[in-house]
Symmetry: C2
Amino acid sequence: MPPTSEALTAERILEATEEVLRRHGPAKATVVDVARALGVSHGTVYRHFRTKAALREAVTKRWLDRTAEALSGIVDETDRDPETRLRGWLAGLFAAKRRKAGADPELFATYSVLATGLGGVVSDHLAELTGQLTRIIQAGVDTGVFATSDPGTAATAVFQATGRFHDPGYAKEWERPGAQAEFEAVVDLLVRGLRG
Amino acid sequence: MPPTSEALTAERILEATEEVLRRHGPAKATVVDVARALGVSHGTVYRHFRTKAALREAVTKRWLDRTAEALSGIVDETDRDPETRLRGWLAGLFAAKRRKAGADPELFATYSVLATGLGGVVSDHLAELTGQLTRIIQAGVDTGVFATSDPGTAATAVFQATGRFHDPGYAKEWERPGAQAEFEAVVDLLVRGLRG
């Protein structure tokens, strides 16, 4: 238990909340559990997050943001050609999801349940990811490797067409032998389609 | 209630089973309900289907086969070019699934539940559909409109990339405004990818 004298930041509360969710699951985890893990009163937690719902939303957003932040680095690798970045981004998303689901299936399932009830947080996350894809495809159009009149629509199509490899509903499929080869066949077809 | 003197075929039992499933749902429907709907004893039903599990498997297979049979007609329209057939086949699958889910959501949900427990029936169905797609793509390769070295792998990629538009887990998305346009954007990209 960390010393209470240490400044209690929102980030420390969210770390503790994730640990409580990992241990108790989404149905049983309470603000009192989070306060106990931090050695503070639940009033102290409520000073940072006004409701249990706000705390759940913030911890889910943090979980989703981690994936988006890791991928944003690939978008900005402007010294690499757009096709390589597109393949790297899609492979990075699949690998991150597979790693999260495989390394800690309970926490992955917990966040999948929480996300289901948080439409706004999820749609912001999907818009962020599709926006990153749009920037890569736009870069490909600018350099003449991709031929599409509407990079935003193409980005949504690529994201939806690869849903099997990032949508949590398919998590059980990701460890099947052949999943990686199937992923690569879909990506190859999409990249050829973008080249036009 | 049909007269009991009429010959009791397996098909009539399956029709009655579907009706019982529609009314009672998968958890409550029993062989006795099916026999009662037909005006026969449950022993008579068991002479055609040895167990309740066998009856459920047969009725689920019949439901899945209806979709596959409707689509097989498109595969055989050899007077139409393969790209048109491919687009028609994918649009036909999406339309059939959307119609089934929209017209009778309870029965659609019931079959989705039944199918989850019948891995073999489902994998046969998916192999049948992917086989149909393979034949269309092979025809495209033969006539020079598609450029792929492995039509079977390409068919699996096309089927998986369009999963959002036929996997029952996405049924709620199918009535959203924009779903049809999103479907068409994915298909356009895949067709361009197959042209190579």
